[in-house]
Subunit: 357 residues, 2 copies
């Protein structure tokens, strides 16, 4: 595949790790990165080492009182707005490659004709933040790939509403392309190939987050909204101390069942199964880096010759959340660029980039 | 996806099962099928039930003295030239939908403008038979998908030599799209996404073939060529009795290691790993339908954060060889048609239809 230039919107956990992982990919050149207060652009390729070193522990952050806490799962960090900030030059402008900007996203859009793909690694300020950001790219005349690692089922519908606008603009929007949804959704779609009918998809994740806990407090709060005793509103109103108490009650280990995760709608739109046949759950351990359970996808179905069987995909316990989010995100980004260059525009989920079912 | 019309060349084990499985796929319409002596064409869709019933136990067959026995693995049947033949109307012409033809492949090519994809489910008469058949389609002005379920590494190179001709013709050639290579190659490419470097891909298959043994004697002979005591030539010269003796010696269970399988070159061409890092082996049991071992793909690699881990994909033991070949073959066929309609021509392996590595 030819050279691909890409930009990262957001330099929190996911944005930083995406830049880092891209250094292992010969065909990928990061040419722009921004947060809310600054932007770095270099079409010879950003100096990722300098950018990461300069911004270490210096992540831009704002209070997020308006955040709608609805996200599920700990497989991606949505707290990449971060918890750390120091000094005046907070955020990406701490890098010598960056400059302050009143409108950093517009600065990226203005360079859009030289950017093949834009990875949205943005905090979930509001649940329509990613769709509205995509609107800006479409309205700004951007033609290329836009990709996110979102998890909320509802956001897929909001993106679908924009499908026509994306097609007119020449945008290929890849949604839900992290670990789950993302890697595990793709694995489910592939595992389905043995069957003529898929009856159950069971996604079960394990995340050990000790060393990443400080950076992922927002995710933990969002996950708490999935516990039977809480909902979006009550989780949102919890104080930090109350959250710590919930974690203490469980000795740092929180188990989730029947989470609202976009794997369901993404598999349904690819024709693999009905959304209601997909279940997502997992265990988060904030006091260990070892996974409390093995991340596993089980796809059960019926074969053409009348047998019922379960195909299984398991991630090695040593693979971190960050490895399983960012590798697939860049992999789907490359697949998206290929689609975009062939003239395929609109909204695509991970499973639609797999063999057809 | 829009409606897809497809033709099947060869009505042995794979061709017949592909027609059968396609009945479960709303978007797929089989419009043509042929063997060496006849062809059935109906653009309203073949009556698959009639065709399968009429030709049951009536598979066209010729002595195959010129066959180069080099194929490995039992995951696909290469004996679909078959062992059964009865009466004058042997083969596909036993169906009321078919007519005899001096050149059935040409009859398909002549209808090529109404056929989106052609599945080559042909016996391996010679190792260049599939490439030469593809040549005929290119020379005959066919523009669409050609897909095979071949296993031989060397054939991939022969197809690559034709890449330019395919591009000029508008042909998207999908090679090695059965179980292994095919489903398991794709699983390996997806499992690789957690890693920045893949060090080992270990593919291990199990096939129980009691009820399919009669139809797959050719495959068993080919597999024997992979045993340490034999090679292509010596296996080719074995009599039926000698093959039975080899099977008896092992109580019907034959184990294979380090097989020559195209998974290696297909993963290398997708940039996942070096061909030499891929190993393929398995166990064939011709006296049980139960699999003697669980088909498993293990992908070991290094993550960006320095961990080494193994991701694993397992097929349920109840999934038959036929289910794992034909589901993926039709899945990759659909993916190929999508590529073809977007104007992407040339030669593609399964792993190249996955997220980029």
């Amino acid at each position: 595949m030819d050279e691909i230039t890409f930009a990262v919107l957001g330099t929190g956990g996911i944005g930083r790790r995406a830049l880092e992982v891209s250094q292992y990919k010969d065909t990928l050149t990061p040419v722009a990165a921004c947060d809310r207060h600054g932007v770095a652009v270099d079409f010879d390729g950003l100096d990722v080492d300098e950018l990461l070193a300069a911004t270490e522990g210096n992540i831009d952050s704002e209070p997020r009182d308006d955040e709608v806490v609805t996200d599920g799962g700990a497989a991606t960090s949505t707290a990449e707005g971060g918890v750390k900030q120091h000094g005046e030059d907070r955020g990406v402008v701490a890098s010598s490659q960056a400059r302050p900007s009143e409108d950093p996203i517009q600065a990226i859009i203005d360079h859009g004709d030289r950017i093949d793909a834009v990875l949205l690694a943005l905090p979930n300020y509001e649940h329509d933040f990613i769709p509205r950001t995509a609107d800006r790219f479409a309205e700004g005349g951007y033609a290329g790939v836009v990709i996110d690692v979102l998890k909320r089922s509802r956001v897929i519908d909001m993106l679908d509403d924009r499908s026509e606008a994306f097609e007119e603009s020449g945008i290929t929007f890849i949604c839900g392309a992290g670990a789950t949804p993302g890697l595990l959704t793709g694995a489910a779609a592939l595992a389905a190939q043995s069957f003529v009918e898929v009856t159950d998809v069971d996604i079960w994740w394990g995340v050990g987050l000790e060393s990443g806990y400080e950076d992922n407090r927002g995710t933990v709060r969002e996950d708490i909204a999935h516990l039977p005793e809480y909902d979006i509103e009550t989780a949102r109103e919890l104080s930090e101390d109350e959250i710590e108490a919930i974690i203490d009650d469980r000795d740092g280990v929180i188990e989730f069942e029947d989470m609202e995760h976009a794997d369901d709608v993404l598999l349904e739109r690819a024709g693999v199964c009905d959304a209601e046949d997909v279940s997502v759950g997992g265990i988060l351990d904030v006091r260990n880096d070892e996974k409390p359970t093995t991340t596993t996808v089980r796809v059960t179905g019926r074969t053409f010759d009348g047998e019922t069987a379960t195909n299984t995909f398991r991630l090695g316990d040593e693979t971190s959340m960050e490895a399983n989010v960012n590798g697939p995100a860049l992999g789907y980004l490359k697949a998206g660029v290929r689609r975009n260059r062939a003239g395929e525009y609109g909204v695509f989920g991970p499973a639609e980039l797999m063999p057809g079912f």
